[in-house]
């Protein structure tokens, strides 16, 4: 099963490598990992998407908790949550494709943020599956470049991850 794990970790140098090192050392899988400081600059928030059986996910959360710099760990996918990912896609936009590309981007609520005579850069935000769907909706041969941030997530309602 796919899980979204959120971590609050001391914003120290090497914190990211402690987490990524743990995943590789114990053969845990990482689909994506994002990290940035929080409103409290002494803390970073990390979102890790991993796929594994319940036993493996249990081990992942326990092992993460065991890291000395980790303050809190929560498996967002255990309850209602929101996930978002940002993608920038550079596409070839010439001739009849130019109008079509604009239309598909609109349908997905994407924004065109860079325009040249022959290309667009489209900015798209949403759950990972929505971004996948967009890439499937356009002609693959027109995709010049894609870059994705990886998933970040937050619990719904009163579920709050804070020190």
């Amino acid at each position: 099963m796919r899980h979204i794990i959120s971590i609050l970790i001391e914003n120290e140098s090497g914190a990211l490598s402690r987490v990524s090192g743990l995943f590789s050392a114990r053969a845990f899988n990482i689909e994506s990992l994002t990290v940035a400081p929080t409103e409290d600059p002494s803390l970073s928030r990390m979102t890790i998407v991993s796929i594994g059986s319940d036993d493996v996910i249990e081990q992942i959360t326990k092992q993460l908790n065991k890291l000395i710099d980790v303050v809190k760990v929560v498996d967002l996918s255990e309850a209602a949550h929101i996930e978002r990912e940002l993608m920038l896609v550079k596409v070839r936009a010439t001739g009849k494709d130019r109008e079509e590309m604009k239309r598909v981007a609109d349908i997905f609520r994407g924004r065109i943020i860079d325009v040249t005579e022959s290309t667009y850069v489209i900015e798209l935000t949403g759950a990972g599956s929505k971004l996948d769907a967009f890439l499937e909706a356009i002609d693959t041969s027109l995709i010049l470049e894609t870059v994705r941030t990886g998933v970040c997530g937050i619990g719904r309602g009163d579920r709050i991850l804070k020190v």
Binding site: Q59, K66, I68
Partner: protein, 569 residues
């Protein structure tokens, strides 16, 4: 008062009441060594290789429950120390390792004797630090000692760049430390303990299985009280030996790959299992799915939540420090009116005694060749079972665990998790520094001993009267055993050729050497070593039977009840 970083390091060690530091100087720690020189509260033990410094500090801790401290220089000093650190990490031994680093401005420039110490050691420490500012030095060392000893213990490394040891700042050593990200659980959940009590009282075929956690948390007395109170059988892992008196009837011997028939069978066939400070590792329960084929309820007490339900699903997890949990467990058992069912328990003991009747550790000592088991047994008898015994890794380690009966904790010192050959001699050194009057024997083999043989020099410098029991079979014995059993007798690279004359070697270092090749000479030689040469290091080179194998044996990937016994062959 303004102190330099080097002065601060030493002051911190003094504040922590550190008596011995094992180490090796070098360029980046010169200022620290200069400060060591100027005082005499902290004694430095100069080893001959950094690996031995860490092993010695490790055994110092294992045999005393103090935190071991070692000091190494940057680059190769650290890389040499890595094996020692990983060894301590796998067995959860509290260590503080202080390593020198190149000056901060040089970090990342591929400077002379530079390595990414924090990066290299990260996977084998409980935590590590790079101190970039002298103002952080004292609090970091305080954290290192705190982290090493609390929760599940482990090695903590503090990397100190050379310029930091020169910079000055106001020194004050924090009395206490609190970290928002680190709060190990100590007390067990009373509700979970209640469930455990119920299961134990309802058990028909109960079993208690304990590991290194009992030793590390000094819970042997409490464990003994609990086991006697319940009247249940108890077995121990390699790391747990000494946690319960081995000469007691309720002790079934060690379990696992080379465990006794009674321990392994009872482990497999019990209906309620109480696991305490143990982690169900592959050498202990063999194939986890085979183990899980039998329906049984498992109660697991451990300070590390990640050890629970890692390899085997557990029914009643209890996270907490073993002594605190045992106190509560005993309290609740005493308060409970019910007692374990006598009739079922008697039937269970009858079954266990049948397994025990197989006498799986018996061996034949003839007149010609010395059997290695006989040497260990004789050592046990001559020392009255009261020695500190260190071992290296391999067949001799298993024989030591099987035939030396440990009645007390912290007497059996070996590398269980990492299985590091070469630890035996530096371990014996560390034990002797922590227990200056103790009888210390190192059971080793001709291959293992050569991995840290240079420490014979350290042992001479510090007059350490270690008794080395070298079970010399001219083979990498355990490798040879596996090759015989699983690789069609193809002894690839397991014959140890061109061995030194160990007697002369020991003598060249200024020690006493003995070569024993007849069974009749075994006992007199050991007696002589412990009486006439009481104050000397004695290297006893026992020329043993080359074909002896360790039995029983559970082959890798097999189930606990699928043992190969000596009698089957």
């Amino acid at each position: 008062m303004q102190l330099t970083g080097a002065e601060i390091v030493i002051r911190c060690l003094q504040e922590e009441k550190v008596e011995h530091v094992f180490g090796y100087p070098g360029g980046s720690v010169l200022f620290i060594y200069d400060e060591l020189f100027k005082q005499d509260q902290v004694k430095h033990i100069l080893v001959r290789h950094e690996q031995a410094a860490v092993h010695a500090a490790d055994a110092y801790s294992r045999s005393s429950n103090k935190t071991g401290v070692c000091m190494v220089t940057s680059g190769p000093g650290v890389t040499n120390a890595v094996t020692g650190i990983a060894t301590a990490y796998m067995d959860s031994i509290p260590l503080v390792v202080i390593s020198g680093q190149v000056p901060t401005a040089y970090i990342g420039q591929d400077a002379f004797q530079e390595c990414d110490t924090v990066g290299i050691t990260r996977p084998c420490v409980k935590h590590n630090f790079l101190v970039k500012d002298v103002k952080d030095l004292a609090v970091t060392i305080k954290k290192a000692f705190y982290l090493a000893k609390t929760g599940r213990p482990g090695p903590v490394l503090v990397d100190v760049p050379k310029d930091v040891t020169v910079q000055k700042c106001e020194f004050s050593y924090p009395k206490t430390i609190s970290m928002r990200s680190y709060n190990p659980v100590v007390k067990g959940h009373a509700g979970q303990i209640k469930k455990a009590v119920q299961l134990l009282l309802d058990a028909k075929r109960p079993m208690i299985y304990t590991g290194g956690g009992v030793i590390l948390s000094d819970a042997a007395e409490k464990l003994t009280k609990l086991v006697r109170m319940l009247g249940f059988p108890v077995t121990q892992t390699l790391m747990g030996l000494g946690g319960y008196p081995a000469t007691d009837r309720q002790f079934l011997g060690m379990l696992g790959m080379h465990g006794t028939v009674e321990a392994n069978m009872a482990m497999q066939e019990c209906d309620v299992l109480l696991a305490i400070g143990a982690r169900f590792d592959d050498r202990v329960i063999g194939n986890p799915s085979h183990f899980s084929e039998v329906a049984r309820k498992i109660v697991h007490i451990d300070i590390d939540p990640s050890s629970i339900s890692k390899r085997v699903r557990v029914d009643v997890p209890i996270v907490g420090n073993v002594p605190e949990v045992l106190d509560e467990l005993i309290r609740q058992l005493e308060a409970a009116e019910a007692r374990p069912d006598e009739k079922h328990l008697a039937a269970w003991w009858k079954k266990i005694d049948e397994w025990r009747g197989r006498n799986c550790l018996r061996f034949k000592q003839g007149k010609e060749k010395i059997m290695p088991q006989y040497v260990v047994q004789t050592l046990y008898e001559v020392t009255g079972g009261d020695a500190f015994v260190t071992s290296d890794v391999g067949q001799h380690q298993m024989w030591a665990a099987q035939y030396y009966k440990f009645d007390k904790p912290r007497r059996w010192i070996n590398s269980g998790g990492l299985g590091t050959m070469g630890v035996g001699l530096p371990y014996a050194m560390g034990v002797r520094f922590a227990n200056p009057k103790a009888t210390v024997a190192c059971i080793t083999g001709e291959a293992s001993i050569q991995m840290c043989i240079q420490e014979l020099s350290t042992a001479k410098q510090f007059r350490l009267p270690i008794k080395i029991v070298n079970l010399n079979n001219r083979y990498l014995g355990m490798v040879r055993q596996w090759q015989e059993m699983f690789h069609g007798n193809r002894y690839a690279e397991s014959y140890v050729d061109a061995l030194p004359d160990f007697v002369k070697l020991a003598e060249s270092y200024g020690h006493v050497g003995m070569r024993i090749d007849k069974p009749a000479d075994v006992e007199p030689a050991i007696r002589e070593a412990f009486t006439k040469h009481k104050n000397d290091l004695v290297f006893m080179d026992f020329i043993t039977d080359q074909t002896a194998n360790v039995y029983p044996m559970v082959a890798a990937g097999k189930g606990l009840s699928e043992m190969i016994l000596a009698e089957d062959l």
